[in-house]
């Protein structure tokens, strides 16, 4: 388990896993196993994210899957100092962020690879996705972001 503010603060191998069956997000998470950050677009080119079975603009059910470059910008963040949920409780300070991907979708994630999350993260920072391996057989790697 990483300690508070430990240099290179990164890995948490026991994050809550997505639960299935859940038809909207299955293909997204399958992509994480392939090292792909997948997102949808509708026939008019509108980005649909989080994944769903319909376009949130038109209601159209004909959606395409695409693979993101994984490059994005920190839209906003917070550093959690207190979380009573097991796993996170022992983690020390860690970041939660909304990342705006270059393809135009926003996702919640965390930012890894900083010495001190309370000082080394800022809005507008450029970040790139990586997939954090998780403990347990056949578990889904979790997409997290690292400053570039």
């Amino acid at each position: 388990m990483t300690k508070r503010f430990e240099k290179g603060h990164v890995n948490m191998a026991n994050r809550p896993q997505p639960s299935f069956p859940e038809p909207d997000t299955q293909h997204f998470w399958d992509g994480c196993k392939e090292g792909e950050l997948r997102y949808q677009t509708d026939s008019d080119g509108n980005v649909v994210f989080y994944p769903r079975g319909h376009s949130t603009v038109t209601g159209d059910r004909e959606l395409s899957w695409n693979v993101s470059s994984g490059m994005g910008t920190v839209y906003t963040y917070s550093v959690v100092r207190q979380n009573r949920m097991p796993g996170f409780q022992e983690l020390g300070a860690y970041a939660v962020a909304y990342i705006d991907l270059d393809e135009g979708f926003r996702m919640m994630s965390t930012i890894v690879g900083v010495d001190d999350p309370t000082t080394d993260i800022h809005i507008g920072q450029r970040v790139k996705v990586e997939f954090e391996e998780q403990a347990g057989e056949d578990s889904f790697p979790i997409p997290v972001f690292r400053p570039v």
Partner: protein
């Protein structure tokens, strides 16, 4: 003003204790309903409408009517988070005006403190599979960190400072110290300092989720209460002066690709409420705003039209908020920050608005005629609702 007087709040009760071991939420709901009816001079058997927020062990309108032992002709179980009670007032205005009921009640009961429910820091996403949980649960976002993300973005875009946000906590505590129930609440919940606080006190309190400090976060208490909504005909014969519901608005907002997190659902619900009421923000005397956190109030002051988006820092520095300052007055009961927050504070926004418009507040604003109660339910930086209710003195 030529407002329509279609429905009124006739009776209120706020459960006095914030630590109430050995009492169930259902008992709090039933006792509060009785006392609110007493406040209005109405009887148990007069109730023909029931609104419920699915709180407690009641199972919503389905179970609550049975527990209470009443058979209302209108049943509305609307659960949209802490703003549910503003939605109930909105629906009561609609339903009473349509003749669907004449004496309606909404009740609230919670034992969140005694049950040690970690509302703000318990982590989220332990529920079953859902499209949203699957995308967010791995990251350990807490409720507080979600609101904190709004604060960071607001500071980034508009230069809002922690010192400015802290003034919200300072003004609210000032009001709380004048409210004996709030003082008892802070004492019973073992606040470190049961006294007025300074900006420095706020900044020196520990950070829970950057940039929000402990003293910018609401308490977790037990509690509850009730409000009685009546038709104009009933309102003529009640014990106290009715407080009129003259406008209401409802809205929702959520995480959107490219969306502006610093603007809440309130920016949609407030204009609807003002429009129905036929009033403008500059006419409002009292703002009862859901102060889950300092940032919630800051965003709502803008979205309710008291200042332009991004200008709340200057608005606060100009010296509003406290009851003895000129201009708009905020949360005169002490708010969720310093008086009462059992999880869904929306009801108390209505109750203190009624007290102000009756002239009964512990921090009374002389001649208060118009109040706005605005609840925010859910996550300010994620999926949330905004419920705005405009109330007028008789």
């Amino acid at each position: 003003m030529a407002q329509e007087r279609l429905a009124a709040i006739a009776g209120i009760h706020e459960y006095p204790l914030r630590v109430a071991p050995g009492v169930s939420s259902m008992q709090i709901k039933a006792e509060s309903m009785k006392r609110a009816l007493d406040d209005a001079g109405l009887d148990w058997g007069d109730v023909d409408g029931l609104y419920d927020a699915l709180d407690g062990e009641g199972g919503g309108g389905l179970g609550l009517a049975a527990y209470l032992g009443i058979k209302p002709r209108l049943l509305d179980t609307t659960q949209v988070g802490g703003s549910s009670y503003e939605f109930h007032a909105s629906h009561a205005l609609r339903d009473i005006a349509a003749g669907r009921c004449n004496v309606a009640v909404t009740t609230y009961g919670s034992t969140a403190a005694s049950m040690r429910v970690p509302i703000g820091t318990g982590g989220m996403g332990r529920g079953g599979a859902s499209w949203q949980q699957n995308m967010e649960a791995p990251y350990g976002s807490t409720l507080i960190s979600n609101y904190a993300m709004v604060a960071h973005r607001h500071m980034h875009e508009y230069g809002t400072t922690t010192e400015q946000l802290a003034q919200i906590s300072v003004a609210t505590r000032k009001h709380a110290m004048r409210n004996p129930e709030a003082v008892k609440a802070m004492t019973d919940l073992q606040f470190v300092k049961v006294d007025e606080i300074t900006v420095e006190d706020v900044l020196e309190s520990r950070v829970i989720a950057d940039p929000l400090h402990l003293l910018e976060c609401c308490m977790i208490s037990d509690g509850g209460g009730a409000a009685v909504f009546v038709s104009p005909e009933i309102a003529r014969d009640i014990k106290k002066k009715p407080v009129w519901i003259i406008g209401a608005g409802e809205a929702t907002k959520y995480r959107e690709n490219g969306g502006d997190i610093t603007t809440s659902a309130g920016a949609q619900s407030a204009p609807a409420a003002y429009g129905q009421a036929g009033v403008t923000p500059d006419e409002i005397d009292i703002a009862m705003i859901y102060d889950s956190f300092s940032i919630t109030v800051a965003v709502m002051l803008e979205d309710l039209g008291f200042c332009a988006k991004g200008e709340v820092g200057q608005f606060i520095e100009d010296g509003h908020l406290a009851f003895d300052q000129p201009g708009l007055t905020l949360n005169t009961d002490g708010g969720g920050l310093s008086s009462n927050h059992p999880g869904m504070r929306g009801l108390f926004l209505l109750l203190e608005s009624v007290r102000q418009l009756r002239g009964e507040s512990n921090s009374q604003v002389d001649g208060a005629k118009l109040a706005v109660a605005h609840g925010n339910g859910g996550l300010l930086g994620g999926t949330h609702t905004g419920g705005t209710v405009i109330l007028a003195a008789d």
